[in-house]
Structures are given as structure tokens and as C-alpha cells.
């Protein structure tokens, strides 16, 4: 049993709903995109190509981030999910360096400072409803410990100075739910499940469709498989970047 994800680029609309679902579910800090959707362009007018490419953490079977973590805060579970222990992480950011996919996000600020401060969530008129939670939609599942290893691995904005990234929504999959991005994808371009079982949707995709993985040559053995289109090249130019600053 190993979790994997299939991203069907023939279906992806580049709408970035997955990014928003992730942000609300995981309460990640402003400017952090555990799920990120590239919109990029190739060629010149009128022979232009525009493509979309969702980029979650690749949950590599041979994860470079896990290898380099000096304290074992970044670890690989038996079910293939690569997680970060927020209580263990020392904030050296080596995993971020090692990852060729750019999926890691560091808590540069205190957690409560990263929640879209332009809006004053501590407004006293909100308090009777929210109990002072910041953000007001703070997901309580993120405060717990997860997995048989019982480590603090779910969700974002855990603490200042620790690294975070996509968890395949560990707090959801242990409830039998799909990751938030997969659930919300308006065109079902994201599929999640056991990649070793040919009877699951993921397994079927792997058996029936030609798939490829990002930066296959890096030897990281990602668990995220892409269908359709083709990998971006060095000539691909990103367009419509979100405001990813802290």
C-alpha cells in the first residue's frame, strides 16, 4: 500500500481551486502554496501553447529531502507519504535545498502573522463566533498528532521557524477522506489512492494511460504521476504568478 496521485493534464483547467482548498484545509501561511498550479506558455504568436501543471509535493519514494534532513524531522512513511514533524524540525531548510520541485515552505514568520493580516481577524466583534481563532476557520484537526508514529505532521502554520509542505492531507486520509485538492478539483483532474493496487482509480490510470513524472532523471521516484501534455521545458515561461511573498 503506497499512496500516489495522478494529475490528468488533459482535464486540468488551471483554475487553482486545489490551491485554495489546500489553503483553507491546512491553514497555511500567506504566500505558501503546498499545492501550486503552474500556468505557462511556450512558442510565439500565433503558434502559442498554454499549459497548466499542478505541483503538489511529489512524495518521492526516494525523497532527497528525507535523505538530507539532519534530524529526521522529514520522514517517509510506509504508505509513501512524506511528512514533516513540526516538533522535531530545527529549521535548517536543507530539505528545501535538496528538493528539485520547490514544494517546501518555511515559516518565516510567527504563525499568527501569516494569516492574511490585511484583515484584522482579532476583531472583537468576531470573537463571540470564532472564539478568537486565527484564522477564524482554523482547522482543529491540525492540532493533533497523526499516524502510528503519532507525530505532529498535519497542516500548516504550526510554529515559527519550521518547514512545512504538502502532506497529502494526512489528517484527512486517516479519516478515509481524499486530500482537499483532490476532492475539490472541478474537472476531476486529480486522482488519489493506492498506486500499488490496480483496482483503484490511481492504479487504473497507471495501468491504462501513458504517464510521466516530473524530473524523472533526478531519480527521486515521485509518487505523483502526470497524464497527457508533456513536461515543461526550460523554455516554458510562467505566466500569471500569484503573489507569493511574505
Amino acid at each position: 500500500m503506497k499512496y500516489g496521485m495522478v494529475v490528468d493534464l488533459d482535464r486540468c483547467q488551471g483554475c487553482r481551486a486545489c490551491m485554495e482548498a489546500c489553503k483553507v484545509e491546512n491553514n497555511t501561511a500567506q504566500g505558501h502554496f503546498w499545492m501550486y498550479v503552474f500556468r505557462y506558455e511556450e512558442g510565439s504568436f500565433p503558434e502559442t501553447q498554454i499549459n497548466f501543471l499542478p505541483r503538489p509535493c511529489q512524495h518521492c519514494d526516494n525523497a532527497p529531502c528525507v535523505k538530507v534532513c539532519p534530524v529526521g524531522a522529514r520522514f517517509s512513511r510506509e504508505d509513501g507519504v512524506v511528512l514533516t514533524d513540526a516538533d522535531r524540525c530545527i529549521g535548517c531548510r536543507y530539505c528545501e535545498l535538496a528538493c528539485p520541485y520547490g514544494v517546501n515552505y518555511f515559516n518565516w514568520r510567527k504563525p499568527e502573522k501569516g494569516q492574511y493580516e490585511i484583515v484584522d481577524w482579532s476583531d472583537p466583534d468576531l470573537e463571540p463566533v470564532t472564539g478568537g481563532a486565527i484564522p477564524p476557520y482554523r482547522n482543529p484537526d491540525l492540532d493533533g498528532l497523526h499516524g502510528e508514529e503519532q507525530r505532529r505532521t498535519g497542516g500548516g502554520s504550526q510554529a515559527k521557524g519550521v518547514m512545512e509542505k504538502c502532506t497529502f492531507c494526512v489528517q484527512r486520509i486517516e479519516k478515509g477522506l481524499q486530500p482537499a485538492c483532490v476532492t475539490t478539483c472541478p474537472t476531476d483532474a486529480l486522482v488519489f489512492g493506492d498506486k500499488t493496487d490496480a483496482s483503484t482509480p490511481v492504479g487504473r490510470y497507471l495501468a491504462e494511460k501513458r504517464t510521466w513524472r516530473l524530473l524523472e532523471e533526478a531519480g527521486t521516484e515521485p509518487s505523483v504521476f502526470y497524464v497527457g501534455s508533456r513536461p515543461p521545458t526550460h523554455r516554458s515561461k510562467e505566466i500569471e504568478r500569484p503573489k507569493a511573498s511574505v
Partner: protein, 69 residues
């Protein structure tokens, strides 16, 4: 005696290094927590080993001469 303690120090240091190192890197285990050392503070044991090994030089030089007493 001096040589004995120096050698002992060296041996203890090396042993601690070996123990600390192998315990820090639990290769071969497939458990969920295989990223963890086999026991907590194993890396400290390794570092301690390094320190003790080098301390053998101190022991060798600093150990008071018995005959002086």
C-alpha cells in the same frame, strides 16, 4: 598505566563512535520511524566518542606521573 588509560580512552572513544554511528543510522530498518536513531541521543554518543578519542591525547599528557607522588 599511562599507556593503558590512553589506550582505554581511545578504545572507549572508538567504541562509542561505532555504537553512536550505527545507532544513529538505523539502516536496514523499515519501520515508520526509520528516520529516528535506534535510541535517542545516539548522535551525542557518537560525538562523545569523538571527543573521548581525542581526549586520549590529554590523558596521555596530563595523567600525573605516579612516581612523583
Amino acid at each position: 598505566m599511562r599507556r593503558f588509560w590512553t589506550a582505554a580512552c581511545l578504545v572507549v572513544g572508538v567504541v562509542l563512535m561505532v555504537v553512536g554511528y550505527t545507532a544513529s543510522a538505523p539502516w536496514g530498518t523499515e519501520s515508520v520511524a526509520h528516520s529516528d536513531p535506534r535510541f535517542v541521543f545516539a548522535p551525542a554518543v557518537f560525538v562523545l566518542g569523538v571527543v573521548i578519542a581525542f581526549s586520549s591525547a590529554l590523558v596521555y599528557e596530563l595523567l600525573p606521573e605516579k612516581r612523583r607522588h
